[in-house]
């Protein structure tokens, strides 16, 4: 085919300090196609697209759009050229209405807002045409995440675009909402628009795209037509080698119950019910997984277990002792380790050094302190040991942890929590921000912990992670545990049904 490229990206480079985000990316997008950008977290997909929509300026290279070399100083320039992007973090002002969000930044700054009815009419018309179900007078903060995303998509359509970029749009959606979004992408293309779909989910990309470009380490590795490839090949391109998700695991019967949760109920910070009567046991020598679409109470469950959120009802028993309602320091001291979901908030203190971060829970006791004074030498040795064992890439142990990449920060958190010799380890998103090599290492480490008799509760939205190391997988939906699945006898789609709240389907049949 000799289609003139609609958008051509030529040898784009972009650095953020020491980090190379785009390392000479070249890519061609054809008019009227759905082109997926596939890659691991941190492969450089979002940064690349941010440069096309004017949010980030490239250091080097060319962007040719509709036959003309373009250089956008701001997203407004890109919108003028009819390029719109729906970001992972929504660009909606929460306390304004949908319509007010749409006219934000439009027209002259001094203009008087008068004719909202015509804006409302236009929104309703677009909403009907694409079956988006968006009400122009709704206040954004009252809407669910899925609705907000539709509001974002409609906003871009409202401004009038030919090229729509969607950055990881399905990360926050249920499978049903995802289906709806994927079919919307088809409708948009029928209307003559071009769609770039950023994702790291193979199945979605295979379902919807015309062509797929795989990114790795800030480069486009390959571009393929969807009919000429398969999931396995794509996965290999993404990680640079065969994905070996089958980790060796010794069949070992689990031991005594270490952590027991009975009927736990708690509310989110917003005051809305988040965890509704969750009961579960974790035994020594087993890894129990909790799967679910994010936002179904997993965050609150882990915060409540670790003492960071008040418990409304129910009990948490650790090693036979009731730890419900204790504060985090007391829970920590009872051989409870926590690898949190949001490490910047609950895991590390960014301006402090690696050394200081490794002793956050134990700075006041031996061997790290005697008589109120820190033992710098012991702390340094301890940290260097952890850095070496967990291959944390850093200059030295006195560097502020903020200078490390997200993956290396995570490795240090994992190292610290395991070094505390816990009986129970609570993990929320084990491999967040970690590259694939380190991920395998961390997962193997978890299996070693399991084999040495520790009890592990792994909350994750990454199904591969759960399937690879869990002995049992529980599915959480709307704050409840909907069911339990044995990973070796469960298909992904069965799990997907449960994650969507579909309890009635005989998920365990066959």
């Amino acid at each position: 085919m000799s289609v003139k490229p609609f958008l051509r990206i030529d040898n784009i480079r972009k650095r953020f300090g020491p980090i190379v985000a785009s390392d000479g990316v070249s890519l061609e997008i054809e008019e009227g196609e759905i082109h997926s950008l596939l890659g691991e977290n941190g492969a450089g997909k979002s940064v690349l697209m941010s440069m096309i929509c004017g949010m980030v300026r490239p250091d080097e290279g060319d962007i040719v759009y509709k036959g003309q070399s373009v250089r956008f100083a701001s997203p407004r320039d890109a919108i003028r050229q009819r390029i719109g992007m729906v970001h992972q973090h929504f660009m909606l002002v929460p306390n304004l209405t949908v319509a007010e969000n749409y006219i934000l930044g439009q027209g002259s700054a001094l203009s008087v807002i008068s004719d909202m009815t015509s804006v409302h009419r236009k929104i309703r018309a677009l909403s009907e045409r694409y079956a988006l179900d968006v009400r122009p007078d709704a206040i954004v903060e009252d809407l669910s995440v899925g609705e907000q995303q539709r509001v974002e998509i409609l906003k871009v359509l409202f401004h009038g675009i030919d090229l729509l970029i969607l950055d990881e749009p399905t990360a926050v959606l249920t499978p049903q909402e995802t289906d709806r979004l994927l079919s919307l992408m088809g409708d948009l293309v029928k209307d003559g628009k071009t769609v770039v779909f950023i994702s790291h989910k193979l199945d979605e990309v295979m379902r919807v795209s015309n062509r797929i470009s795989v990114m790795r380490d800030g480069r486009v590795v390959n571009t393929v037509r969807v009919g000429e490839t398969n999931a396995r090949e794509l996965a290999r391109m993404m990680v640079g080698r065969d994905v070996r998700m089958e980790l060796p695991r010794s069949p070992k019967p689990p031991g005594r119950i270490v952590l027991s949760v009975e009927n736990l109920t708690c509310r989110a910070e917003t005051g809305l019910p988040a965890v509704r009567g969750v009961s579960l046991d974790v035994r020594a020598g087993e890894i129990v997984g909790i799967a679910g679409v994010s936002g179904n109470g997993q965050t609150e469950l882990s915060l409540a277990l670790s003492g960071l959120l008040p418990v409304d009802a129910g009990r948490v028993i650790l090693n036979g002792n009731d730890i419900t309602g204790l504060d985090p320091a007391e829970i920590n001291a009872r051989r409870f380790s926590h690898i949190p979901e949001d490490r910047h908030k609950h895991g590390i203190v960014l301006p402090l050094s690696l050394s200081e971060n490794t002793i956050l829970q134990r700075y006041d006791r031996k061997p790290f302190a005697t008589g109120g004074m820190l033992n710098r030498r012991v702390i340094g040795e301890h940290t260097r040991d952890l850095i070496k064992r967990f291959r944390v890439k850093s200059r030295d142990e006195n560097q502020p942890i903020a200078a490390l990449s997200g993956g290396n920060q995570q490795k240090l958190v994992v190292a610290r929590e395991l070094a505390r010799d816990p009986d129970f380890i609570l993990v929320n998103q084990l491999a967040r921000g970690i590259d694939i090599g380190a991920m395998e290492f961390v997962m193997e480490e978890m299996l070693r912990q399991r084999d040495s008799g520790r009890a592990i509760l792994l909350i994750s939205t990454e199904l591969e992670e759960l399937f690879a190391i869990c002995d049992r997988i529980l599915v959480m939906f709307h704050g409840e545990i909907l069911g339990e699945l044995p990973p070796d006898r469960t298909r992904l789609d069965e799990l997907g049904l449960l994650m969507a709240g579909n309890k009635d389907e005989p998920a365990l049949a066959g």
Binding site: I79, H87, M91, V93, N95, L96, E100, L104, S111
Partner: protein, 310 residues
């Protein structure tokens, strides 16, 4: 006291309340703009002092009150420019810079006043009450509302105008968004930094005007520390008013009522409470307000946070 006297008392009280509320109305409406854009300017006290001094100096030199008011606004804005530069461009902590500007405002105006004026001891011409024909002769209402000077009347206009700008213009919509989700504004192509500068300048301009009223429409003299904490009270007014300009107008009136009440009660011989207790009334109310309305519900979510572009 019979009914006639107490009604007269009440009319005088309301009239005085509005006059005493005027500097608060200007300063708090200004601060609403600033805070809606995410900038918490606790330097209002210093800014008002600068406005009061500049207004006094300009009027003393020219004998022209409107010119004095303009000088007050300009002085406030100049001070605001310093605040904006440090907090928005340099991204210094807003509380620290605000506190520094309060000290600077007090020291600078005291220094300049002592150097150039104190020995003259001379007062200036101030804005005189304008009796609105017919309305000012109404019983009770006339005394309460229609025998003020033009600056006091203008507070109504400023409040309505502020609400219109904030809620009915593209500028206002963007300004409110800057305090809630600055990145969304950035992506829409408007300058977050530009809007924050504008908001701070509107805010400090009005604070300067509020200060200038003290020397040009209230007392005929500049006195060191003439604002006596009104800048801080204006901050409390904004919280109480839930960041609404019309709300700020009425809450200021309420505080004006406390000022008027303490002044008039001091004059009542029959009241035996020590006058210091009465004087403390507006300040006690400020503390009560801040405690009672401490909820963050209506506060702009990015209040006090500098904006980092990536």
């Amino acid at each position: 006291m019979d009914d006639m006297i107490s009604l007269t008392f009440l009319a005088t009280l309301v009239g005085a309340a509005w006059r005493l509320a005027t500097p608060l109305i200007f300063a708090s409406i200004g601060e609403v703009f600033s805070e809606r854009a995410g900038v918490l300017n606790i330097g209002l006290e210093g800014t008002m002092l600068v406005g009061a001094f500049c207004g006094f100096a300009a009027a003393a030199a020219t004998g022209n009150i409107p010119l004095g008011l303009l000088a007050g606004i300009a002085g406030g804005m100049l001070f605001g420019l310093v605040f904006a530069f440090f907090t928005i461009s340099i991204k210094a902590d807003q509380i620290v810079v605000g506190a520094a500007l309060n000290l600077l405002g007090m020291g600078l105006t005291a220094f300049l006043f002592r150097t150039y004026y104190v020995s003259t001891g001379k007062g200036i011409e101030i804005a005189q009450p304008v009796h609105i024909p017919w309305l000012s002769d109404l019983p009770f209402l006339g005394e309460a509302f229609f025998r003020q000077n033009l600056i006091v009347y203008s507070t109504v206009l400023v409040a309505i105008l502020a609400a219109l700008v904030l809620y009915r213009t593209s500028f206002g919509l963007t300004l409110r968004s800057v305090g809630e989700h600055p990145k969304a504004v950035d992506v829409s192509g408007r300058s977050v930094v530009g809007y924050r500068y504008a908001a701070v300048l509107v805010g400090t301009g009005l604070a300067g005007l509020g200060g200038a009223f003290l020397t040009l429409g209230h007392s005929n003299q500049f006195v060191e520390g003439i604002t006596s904490g009104r800048g801080f009270i204006a901050l409390a007014v904004v919280v109480f008013a839930r960041w609404s300009p019309i709300g700020a107008f009425f809450v200021s009136l309420l505080f004006g009522l406390f000022y008027a009440l303490q002044l008039m009660l001091q004059a009542q011989a029959s009241i035996v409470v020590p006058y210091q207790v009465l004087q403390a009334l507006p300040y006690i109310m400020t503390i009560v307000t801040l405690v009672a309305f401490r909820g963050k519900g209506a506060a702009p979510s990015k209040l006090g946070q500098p904006y980092e572009m990536r």
